[in-house]
C-alpha cells in the first residue's frame, strides 16, 4: 500500500430531485431553480474516504463526469478535504447510459493509482445502482456494494458491513477493490472555511477529455450505450378520491381490495 492509501471517489452532480415539481398544466418537469448538489450516496462516499484519511492518512482523488459546470461538486469535495479533483468532460461522453458511464470512469481509473475505489450506491436522478458494479467489472476488481461501514483490518485488507433487507453481511476483500456506499453510512462533514479558501487558492481541478483516458471511443456516450430512451412521460393528474362512511369490517374489505389491486398482498 506504500505510505498512504490512495482512494478515488466517484461523485456525480445531480439535480436535487426532492425540489423538482411538475407543471400541473403542461405536465412537464420544472427544473428551473432546482439546485444542483453532490449526489447524497456519493457524498457519504466522500465522507467514508475522509474518515479513512483521518484514521490512517490517505490521498483522496474525487472524480466526476459531466458538463463543465460539474466542476462545482469537485470544489465542494476540495472544501470537505479531498486532495485532488478530476473533471471528465467531453461531448463524446454525453448521452451515456450506466454502462457507457462506467466505461468512461474505468478508462480514467486505469490512469490512476488506487487502493480503494468508492462510489455512491446510486444517484438520485436515475436510482439505478449500476455504475459502481459495472465499473468494478471493467476494472476486473472485487466489489462490495451497499456498504454501511468500512474497516481496515490488516495490510491491504478491507472489511465492510453490507446492508441487506433483514440486517447486514460482513464481507472482506483485499485491496484494490470497489465499494459502493449507502447514504445512511454517515453524516457527511460540512465544508470548512479554511479548506474553502485553500480550495480556491491552491487546488486546481484537472480537466480530462477522451484523449486522456484509456478506453475505446466506441463504448462511450450515446453511441456506446446499449439502452436507449424510447419515450418519457409524466404521470397524469390525480382525480378526486372517494370517501367511505362504513362499518369497520366493510372498511377492511375496501382497503384489502385496493392492496390486492396494487399487488401489495
Amino acid at each position: 500500500m506504500g505510505d498512504f492509501m490512495n482512494i478515488v471517489v466517484c461523485i456525480k452532480q445531480v439535480p436535487d430531485t426532492t425540489e423538482i415539481r411538475l407543471d400541473p398544466i403542461k405536465g412537464t418537469l420544472i427544473r428551473d431553480g432546482v439546485p444542483s448538489i453532490i449526489n447524497p450516496d456519493d457524498k457519504a462516499g466522500l465522507e467514508e474516504a475522509l474518515k479513512l484519511k483521518d484514521l490512517f492518512g490517505a490521498n483522496i482523488t474525487a472524480i466526476t463526469m459531466g458538463p463543465p459546470q460539474a466542476e462545482q461538486v469537485l470544489k465542494e469535495a476540495f472544501a470537505m478535504g479531498v486532495d485532488k479533483g478530476i473533471l471528465l468532460t467531453d461531448r463524446k461522453f454525453a448521452g451515456a447510459d450506466s454502462l457507457a458511464t462506467s466505461n468512461a470512469l474505468a478508462g480514467a481509473l486505469k490512469k490512476l493509482d488506487f487502493d480503494i475505489v468508492i462510489t455512491g450506491r446510486q444517484a438520485i436522478d436515475g436510482d439505478t445502482a449500476q455504475v459502481g458494479p459495472q465499473l468494478a467489472e471493467h476494472l476486473g476488481l472485487p466489489q462490495m456494494s451497499y456498504v454501511k461501514e468500512i474497516n481496515i483490518v490488516g495490510e491491504n485488507l478491507v472489511r465492510v458491513k453490507r446492508g441487506v433487507e433483514d440486517g447486514y453481511q460482513v464481507l472482506e476483500a483485499e485491496t484494490p477493490c470497489v465499494l459502493t456506499i449507502l447514504s445512511e453510512a454517515n453524516n457527511p462533514r460540512y465544508m470548512s472555511v479554511s479548506k474553502i479558501i485553500s480550495a480556491v487558492r491552491d487546488k486546481k481541478i484537472e480537466v480530462w477529455d477522451t484523449s486522456m483516458i484509456d478506453i475505446d471511443l466506441e463504448v462511450l456516450g450515446l453511441s456506446g450505450s446499449p439502452t436507449k430512451v424510447k419515450k418519457s412521460f409524466t404521470k397524469g393528474a390525480k382525480s378526486a378520491g372517494k370517501i367511505h362512511e362504513v362499518i369497520p369490517q366493510e372498511a377492511v374489505t375496501i382497503i384489502i381490495d385496493k392492496l390486492k389491486e396494487n399487488f401489495i398482498i
Binding site: Q130, V131, G241, I255
Partner: protein, 336 residues
C-alpha cells in the same frame, strides 16, 4: 451480434437458505406473459447449494424449464461466483430477456453481469411489455418518481431488467404443470473469488429510510398512544411497508424524528401512503401530498386529509386496524 439467435425469457431465481424469494415467483408470473407474447420459452435459473429439490416449484409457478447449478461455491450469495454462473449460462443459452429481482442481491449481481456480457440493463422497472417489433419495453421512474421513461435495448442481447419486489404478480401455483429440469455443468474460476463472507447479522432495526419506502404506514394524533401504534407496525410488517408518523407522534416520543413526515420532517413519495389518524395539517401535507396513492382513515369526516386522499375511510383507526391485520394474515397464509 445476431439478435435472432437469442431466444427465451430467463428469470434469475433468488434463494436465501434454499428458500425461493417471492420476487422471483412474481417475475415468473410476469415472464410467463412475456414468453407467451414472444412465443418463446420461460426458463428459471436457480443457483445455490443443494437446491435441486426446489426446481419443481418453479415449474408449478410457470417455468417451462429450470436450469440449476448446485455448488458449495453458491451457498451464500457472493458477487463473483454468482456472476460467473449467470454469465456462463447466458453465454451458453443466449437468452432474449433476463429478469432479476431488484433486491440487495439482484442489484449487486445484475449490473456486474450486464457489464460482463456488455449488454444493457434497466433497473427497477414498473412495467414490462413486448412491442410490435418484439422488443422489450422497460418502463421505470426517474428523477425521484417525477418522470417515467420507457427504455429499450435495441442492438444488444440479452435485454436485462430488474424489478422490485411487489411490482409484478405471481401465478397461482399449479402442481400439475410439467417441465424440464436440467443441471448446468459449471466450471468456476476460483482464482477470481476475492471477497470472503465473514458473517451475517439480522437486524430488526428498519433499514429502509422513509424517503425510500414504497409503502408507508403513517400514524398521527388519532392513533393516540405507543400501544395503539403497534397495530401500525403489524400492518407494515404484514405488507412489507415502513412506518412513519406525523409531528404529533414524534412529539409524543412514539417515533424518532427520522420517521417524521412533513415540512419539518421528511418529504416522501411512496406508491401507497396510509394516513392513519392524521388530520392533514398543511405542514404534514407538504411532506406527503405527492404520494402515488393515499389511503386515509380518520374519525372526523371533516378532516382535511380527506381532500388529498384517494381513498378515505371515516372511522376509528384503532378499531379498523386490528381487523385489517387479522384479515391480511388469513389471506397471506392461504396463499403461502
Amino acid at each position: 451480434m445476431n439478435l435472432k439467435e437469442y431466444k427465451g425469457v430467463y428469470i434469475f431465481i433468488e434463494q436465501k437458505s434454499k428458500e425461493i424469494q417471492n420476487v422471483s415467483l412474481e417475475l415468473l408470473g410476469k415472464g410467463r406473459g412475456l414468453a407467451d407474447t414472444l412465443e418463446e420459452e420461460l426458463v428459471a435459473v436457480l443457483l445455490g447449494n443443494k437446491v435441486k429439490d426446489q426446481c419443481q416449484d418453479l415449474i408449478s409457478y410457470g417455468a417451462d424449464r429450470v436450469i440449476y447449478v448446485d455448488s458449495p461455491m453458491l451457498d451464500k450469495y457472493l458477487t463473483e461466483p454468482y456472476a460467473q454462473a449467470l454469465s456462463a449460462i447466458s453465454k451458453s443459452e443466449k437468452p432474449n430477456v433476463i429478469l432479476i429481482g431488484a433486491t440487495s442481491t439482484g442489484r449487486d449481481l445484475a449490473p456486474r453481469v450486464s457489464a460482463r456480457l456488455a449488454t444493457g440493463l434497466t433497473a427497477d422497472c414498473t412495467s414490462l411489455e413486448i412491442s410490435e417489433e418484439k422488443e422489450l419495453l422497460m418502463t421505470r421512474p426517474a428523477f425521484g418518481g417525477n418522470l417515467m421513461a420507457t427504455i429499450i435495448c435495441p442492438d444488444h442481447r440479452p435485454q436485462m431488467s430488474s424489478v422490485r419486489p411487489g411490482v409484478m404478480q405471481k401465478l397461482a401455483i399449479d402442481t400439475n404443470r410439467t417441465g424440464e429440469i436440467v443441471e448446468f455443468d459449471m466450471k468456476f474460476d476460483e482464482s477470481k473469488f476475492k471477497v470472503r463472507f465473514i458473517e451475517e447479522l439480522k437486524e430488526t432495526k428498519q433499514l429502509v429510510k422513509i424517503e425510500d419506502a414504497h409503502v408507508l404506514v403513517s400514524g398521527g394524533r388519532g392513533v393516540g398512544s405507543a400501544e395503539n401504534f403497534k397495530h401500525l407496525e403489524v400492518l407494515a410488517k404484514n405488507i412489507g411497508a415502513t412506518v412513519s408518523a406525523s409531528r404529533a407522534m414524534v412529539d409524543l416520543g412514539v417515533m424518532g424524528h427520522d420517521r417524521q413526515v412533513g415540512q419539518t420532517g421528511k418529504t416522501v413519495r411512496p406508491d401507497i401512503y396510509f394516513a392513519l389518524g392524521i388530520s392533514g395539517a398543511i405542514q404534514h401535507l407538504a411532506g406527503m401530498e405527492e404520494s402515488e396513492y393515499i389511503i386515509a382513515i380518520n374519525k372526523d369526516k371533516g378532516a382535511n386529509i380527506f381532500n388529498t386522499a384517494d381513498l378515505g375511510i371515516v372511522g376509528d383507526v384503532n378499531k379498523i386496524l386490528p381487523l385489517l391485520n387479522s384479515q391480511i394474515n388469513k389471506l397471506t397464509n392461504k396463499n403461502a
